[in-house]
Structure formats: C-alpha cells, structure tokens
Symmetry: C2
Subunit: 179 residues, 2 copies
DNA sequence: TCAATACAAAACACAGTGTTCTGTTTCTTG
DNA sequence: CAAGAAACAGAACACTGTGTTTTGTATTGA
C-alpha cells in the first residue's frame, strides 16, 4: 500500500474520531472531515464510497482488536467454568474503554445500527455456548437476544455513565445471567 | 378543532403509518407522505414543523394508549405480588401488538431513538418500584437500565420475530428479572 | 353572509451528497 | 534517473430532500 494512501487514510480516521468527540455521527458532514483531515473531496471519495463506509471501516478496526484474541483462544475456553466467560467479558470492556471518548458520538441514530450490528454479531457468537448451558426454560432464540442486547445496551449505558470499572460492570452483568 | 384540520391530520397519520409498513422511517420523504395523503406541501408543514415532529406526535399517541390505564391504576398496584407486574406487562404487549405492522419501520436509525425515548421513559417509571424490591447486589441505576433496555429490546426483537404470544413473551421476560 | 382560516400549487433558497473535470505532486519501477 | 502510474487538490456540477414563501381558492363557524 502506498505511503500516501496510508497517511491519508490515517488522517481521515483521525479527523473522523476527533469530530465524533464533539458531535454525533449524523451531524458530521463529509466537508468537516476533509477540512480537518486537510485533504480534497475527491481524495475522500477515492478512499471511501460514502460516509457510512468510513464508519463501517472504523467498526471493523475496533472489533478486530476487541474480539481478536478472544476468538483465537476460543478452543481452550470452557464456559462451564465461571472464570473464562468473566475474563472474556472483562477483556472486551477494557478494549472498548480505549475508545470511550468517541463512542457516544456513534451510539445514536443510524450509526448505532451499524456499530451494534458488528458488536452483536460477535456477541452472538460468544454467548451461544453460554445459552446452551443455561437451565432457563425460555427458548434459546429469546435467551440469545436477551443476553446479547443486555450486554450491548449495558455497554452503551456505560459509555454515557462512566462511573464504574470494567470489573464492576462485568460483575453486575454476570449476576443477572440466566444460568 | 376544525373538521378540515382533523381530516387532514388523520390523512397524514394514515399515509405515514401506511408508508412505514413498506419502508423505514429514514427512507420516507415528506413528498411521499403528502402524495399519499393527497394534500399540499404547505398543509403538511402547517400541521407539523418537521418529519420528526410527526413521528413524535405518533409516539405520543401510541404510548398514551399503551400506558394510560396502567398509570391510572398505579395506586392500587402492589408489585410485591407477582400478578400485578405480569398483568401490566401483558397489557402493554397486547397494546403494542396492535401497531405491530408498522413498528419495524420505526425501530431503526434516528426514529428508533425517538420511539425508544418515549418507551423507556414510561418503562423507567414502571420498573423503578420493582428494582427497589430487588435483592440483587448491583446498584439501582445499573439494574434500572438493565430492566428497561431488556424489555425494550425484547419488544424490538418481538416485532421482527413474531412467533410468540404476549403471554409467552411476558413469561420469558419475567423469568430473567433479577428478584 | 362574511371574515377567518385551512388549504393547494408552484417556485424558491438552502444544505449536503456524490461525480466529474483538469491539472499537480508523489511514488515506484525499469 | 527517468517515465509512467497513481494519489492528490481544487473547483464546478447535478441531484435530492428540506423547509419557506407567495398567491390565490375553498370551506367553515359565527
């Protein structure tokens, strides 16, 4: 990849996340992004087809880091032991905490759908095993949605109300899991 | 109120909910609404300042019916008895079921925020008492968000996956309440 | 009946998107 | 190092949708 491309791409992401700290995704215009990144309009559109695609790329980046090592260790995990699922969740929360400053700008409107789409897909994969061990009588499709949304919405709430540590949030969440 | 006003207002709401059955709120334009309602552009804007205000008016209407009798019976309710909270939830689900055909069109993007804003406000009021009786060790602000989002997201899931009755959904939900 | 007002139709300014053009700079490869 | 390829800037453009304004008509309630 061309050095210029990488530089421009970094500049776009930097400008984008920077703007997200100040206002919500919906209010940010392409014009603002290219002004702050100090690039031309054509340049932006040669990197990303639309503003939404930029957000998609950002989300891919984020969740690649958040879920990468979790998934690679997947085989060695045994969810019947409490420690594993708890440590995974804590890890996820620590990773997300690094992006805390601009996440609120994403978590509303159309951008929330895109972000949550990625997030919930990964969570679904993670919680499916937990559900299968659950003794709750509700059907699995209900329980899976219940857990995935519970965690996703808890994270959303956490970003707007940052008064607890990842360990605390994990503890609260674990307490209400239907096991 | 003028008969013409009421007629026009009804026509706008009818066209709006009708369009919501076909596509999402974000994709619906004012032009489509006034075409289907067979009214002029100026007429629409004399009734509602923006498209968002129309959605707000619709939400107000919906939740007025969904939560009206529940709130009026508030004083006679005793949440320490299982029956009351369960019957309330079932009632809410039955009312929402009447709008099932166009709710999916609202439950995404910016419109979801508006709808959920009303919904969660009412739910917060409803669940605060339940939380105070909970024996869970997590803090109340966490638990309240947990329950409110759980129910709201369950309803959202229900509208997209309509294979259970209000009673069944209520049963599933009640099973995972932290009491 | 008559004044008020709800309405229709069309034109308008505005903002934001995504495209297209013409050059210029920078990289890479032979 | 030279030459072609690719990334870039800048400006203009068409397009869509919003919300406003203007002018004139039809309906209502007093």
């Amino acid at each position: 990849m061309d050095r210029r491309q990488k530089k421009t791409r970094r500049a776009i992401f930097a400008a984008f996340t920077d703007l997200l700290k100040e206002e919500s995704y919906a209010k940010i215009t392409v014009q603002q992004i290219i002004d702050r990144a100090d690039i031309g309009r054509t340049t932006f559109y040669s990197h990303f087809e639309t503003k939404d695609e930029l957000l998609n790329a950002l989300c891919t980046d984020i969740f690649e880091h958040v879920f990468s090592e979790e998934l690679s260790k997947e085989k060695t995990h045994d969810f019947s032991r409490v420690h594993d699922i708890k440590s995974q969740i804590t890890h996820i929360l620590y990773h997300l905490q690094e992006h805390m400053d601009y996440l609120p700008g994403i978590l509303s409107g159309e951008s929330e759908d895109i972000f949550m789409g990625y997030f919930k897909n990964h969570l679904q994969q993670l919680f499916t095993k937990v559900i299968s061990l659950s003794s709750a009588s509700a059907p699995e499709d209900y329980l899976l949605n219940h857990m995935v949304c519970d965690f996703a919405e808890t994270v959303k709430w956490w970003t707007k109300n940052q008064s607890y540590s990842p360990e605390e949030i994990c503890g609260f969440f674990y307490e209400t899991i239907p096991v």
